[in-house]
Symmetry: C2
Subunit: 211 residues, 2 copies
Amino acid sequence: MTDPPDTTPDRRPGGRTARVRAQVLDAVRAELTEGGHEGLTMEGVATRAGVHRATVYRRWRDVGGLLVDVIDAAGETDWQPPDTGSLRGDLTALNREIQESLVARPSFAVALMAASFHSEQAARAQTRLWADRYAQCEVIVERAAGRGELPGRHTDARSLLITATAPLYHRLMLLRVDPDPRLPERAAEAAVLAATAGAFTVHGESEVRSP
Amino acid sequence: MTDPPDTTPDRRPGGRTARVRAQVLDAVRAELTEGGHEGLTMEGVATRAGVHRATVYRRWRDVGGLLVDVIDAAGETDWQPPDTGSLRGDLTALNREIQESLVARPSFAVALMAASFHSEQAARAQTRLWADRYAQCEVIVERAAGRGELPGRHTDARSLLITATAPLYHRLMLLRVDPDPRLPERAAEAAVLAATAGAFTVHGESEVRSP
């Protein structure tokens, strides 16, 4: 999680600002992962980051501000959805990534979701992140359609992706059952079979109107 | 939520005990629904219930004890899964119930889930409740199999039910999108199409071993 120490003098504008942000967000991730959002304090983050408390208060204001920024930062990484050559392969690979992030102990992903149940600010940031990630994943469905893997002219990509991925969150986060190593593939397979049977095919007017 | 006042003298053993529990749990539900679990206190519940604080402390010990009991009580109601005559109809009706409980504002169901992210005791009680509810719903799949709506000799009922219901929780609780009145039926339909295509059909050894 921690970037290598930067010993070069700042040349770019914002170099120091960016470095302080990286240090603080690394500290937020570590504190959240270890103690959940209930253990997150401005003081704890400043100490762990080795940054003046006044700087942390000035730039992030409160714990809600830290949560929002760490969630926003998660959306800034250059993550790309898997590209395996088949819809089933892509969804299985995506589900494996999701399962890994949820079963990690401690899990940064789970800590963020828990925080979003208790901070409106964090909830809004998390909602933006989810929306971005699902939008990024729509290319999986577009590629499948291009390969002729899907029936009809237009597929509701979001619904297909949610059908494939939701069972993982549901079982691991809400039902809290033990992770099943076959689940990523099985959930992907069920979504592919439903899609192939036309469950997400858009007909008529909505087809014309969809973006 | 509140039972009618009981003015008859207690005849059954435990009559008063049961009445005090009902009053206290009604108060817990009201406090949770209005203020979330963070606003839940032993004093607030005792005052609202009109029960001595000492009684509440003696019987429930702490807020965790109240949460566990209110979740356990949710599992004691004589809820029955819908029985509409078709798999698609049953799953749609089930999803409508789920959607209603999640979009209610304030929502007791959402307050309980939020609490379970912050209390290990509440999480365990919630996990038991989920397990019971999904076990109860397996009859939906058994009836569908009896009507010849499903392929193969044995269907993984739990996976089918989770595929049908998980998108509602995922969209409403995690993605926090606006509720779509067509979602209950669409999510049910996708699960039925996947099931019909064999997504949840159990083959080979696991068929023999399954209960």
